[in-house]
């Protein structure tokens, strides 16, 4: 049975996300999809969906959603208070909510992005095989707005017997592993020293395209212009200001700033949970 969800308050920024639209970067189309893919997959698994089903990605301040039908949901990602009425819901768990329940997410206390999966997935018109909302390219559904009605799809797989997952809370000061290159020859040795030893702050200018960092200027040994080249998820790009940017899910497919290092795959989800004002460190491999 399908579930109707009414958006009472959309929260700070709530979008529909799945695992994105890989395979189109050569046309200038970013992959997009969940900024923390692991949390999206987990939320889906808990309610018996395919891992890449569309779910809601909330940013810092979560939405208020009125469930018009009985629903099985799961909330993963950031540490956040979620309630139905007076009842506090456990995170990283499959939870049944009765028809008429008002699901309210507050403000994340650790991490940035929460994922709300509903059994059956959220349905929307796919654009190039994905329902992901790409805010940079303005492809896919627009962010949620008050009064909007969402519909779940038809459930397919079985609901797993165990509906709780043990998950570590996002760290206060994460240590992200980075791998040197591809443009390490554009930087002075000092730049690597600074990258690996500094405490960086996440700027409030950050978004789904990139986490901008504030810290010491990373000195270059070349001042000429890099010819535009393909950019990969997790690339630590250094513009002329010397202040690095970690490229996230909606990052542009090409760029003209040299990439000093790239975040290791294992830490990409943690990069997607960086919140403005938060501190982080890099470990250079």
């Amino acid at each position: 049975m399908s579930v109707t969800i009414e958006v009472i308050k959309p929260g700070a920024l709530t979008t529909l996300q799945d695992l994105g639209r890989p395979g189109f970067a050569h046309l200038g189309i970013p992959r997009s999809g969940a900024a923390d893919r692991g949390s999206l997959k987990l939320a889906n698994r808990l309610v018996g969906n395919a891992e890449g089903a569309a779910a809601l990605e909330c940013t810092l301040i979560g939405p208020s959603l009125l469930l018009h039908d009985d629903a099985l949901i799961a909330i993963t990602g950031a540490e956040i208070s979620a309630r139905v009425g007076d009842e506090e819901l456990p995170l990283n768990s499959a939870v049944s909510v009765a028809a008429g329940g008002l699901l309210q997410l507050k403000t994340a206390s650790a991490g940035l992005r929460s994922y709300i999966a509903v059994r059956g997935g959220i349905s929307a018109q796919p654009m190039m095989s994905s329902m992901a909302s790409d805010l940079l390219s303005e492809l896919g559904p627009a962010p949620l707005r008050a009064g909007q009605l969402l519909e779940s799809g038809e459930p397919t797989g079985e609901v797993p017997a165990i509906g709780v997952a043990a998950v570590a809370t996002p760290e206060d000061e994460p240590l992200l592993q980075v791998i040197r290159g591809p443009r390490d020859d554009w930087f002075a040795d000092e730049a690597f020293e600074l990258l690996a030893t500094s405490r960086w702050e996440v700027s409030s200018d950050s978004n789904r395209s990139g986490a901008r960092l504030i810290g010491p200027e990373l000195p270059r040994v070349r001042s000429d212009q890099l010819l535009s080249e393909g950019m990969t998820h997790g690339a630590v790009q250094v513009p002329a200001s010397g202040q690095p940017i970690i490229l996230l899910a909606d990052h542009p497919t090409t760029g003209g700033y040299p990439v000093i290092a790239v975040v290791a795959s294992a830490d990409l989800d943690a990069a997607g949970q960086l919140r403005p004002g938060q501190k982080l460190r890099f470990r250079l491999n």
């Binding site: 200038g28 535009s228 997790g234």
Partner: protein
């Protein structure tokens, strides 16, 4: 004698291959597109090809094998398909660019039209094609202050590149004209009119 490609790791899931020029990029991209294997993305740049895997990158020797022969300039390439774009030279920066090049706006238009262009790569925004092959005497730098809004269809030049903005967006290129052709349409398959390697001929509207 041509230089062998340089293989640069880009994290644990991507590799950036630096080639001697855009022709070599097109040749390698075309070959890898045909035998995609486990590659998730093949992204041409001006002189590079970014390869992205859904898993960890293969070993250096596997990558070397994958791209072997890319430096052979004699490698046969299929004749690129050609697209014709009808343009008007009516952009707000036309007079300034012509002035900076020491020619009249009419001469700039004539010389810009006379070039044979090829799509070097797509980037910046969906369907935004960097056209190579422009007149080396017409290479104005980007604007010092980018515009917050460039209209869809604007014909623009910056450095060695020409382009038609597929959609309205911010932009720092010099706007010299306009084009009515729909460059990007997400409802179509493929959504982008221009792809890397295509030949592009501009004609006066």
């Amino acid at each position: 004698m041509s230089l062998p490609p340089t293989i640069r790791p880009a994290g644990d899931h991507s590799i950036l291959i630096e080639l001697e020029g855009n022709d070599a990029v097109q040749r390698l991209a075309a070959r890898l597109q045909a035998e995609r294997g486990e590659l998730e993305e093949i992204v041409p740049g001006h002189q590079t090809l970014l390869l992205v895997w859904a898993r960890e990158t293969p070993s250096l020797s596997e990558v070397e094998q994958l791209i072997s022969g890319a430096q052979l300039t004699a490698e046969a390439m299929p004749e690129p398909s050609e697209v014709e774009l009808a343009v008007n030279y009516d952009g707000p920066d036309l007079a300034a660019v012509a002035g900076a090049c020491g020619i009249s706006p009419e001469e700039l238009a004539a010389r810009h039209l006379a070039c044979r262009y090829r799509v070097g790569f797509i980037g910046f925004s969906p369907g935004f094609a960097y056209l190579l092959g422009g007149d080396p005497a017409l290479q104005p730098p980007r604007l010092a202050e980018p515009r917050t809004r460039v209209p869809a269809g604007a014909l623009a030049i910056a450095g060695p590149y020409s382009a038609v903005y597929p959609r309205s967006s911010p932009g720092g290129w010099n706007l010299i004209g306009s084009c009515d052709e729909l460059i990007f349409n997400e409802a179509q398959n493929p959504p982008a009119l221009l792809t890397a390697g295509m030949a592009v001929r501009l004609v006066a509207k």
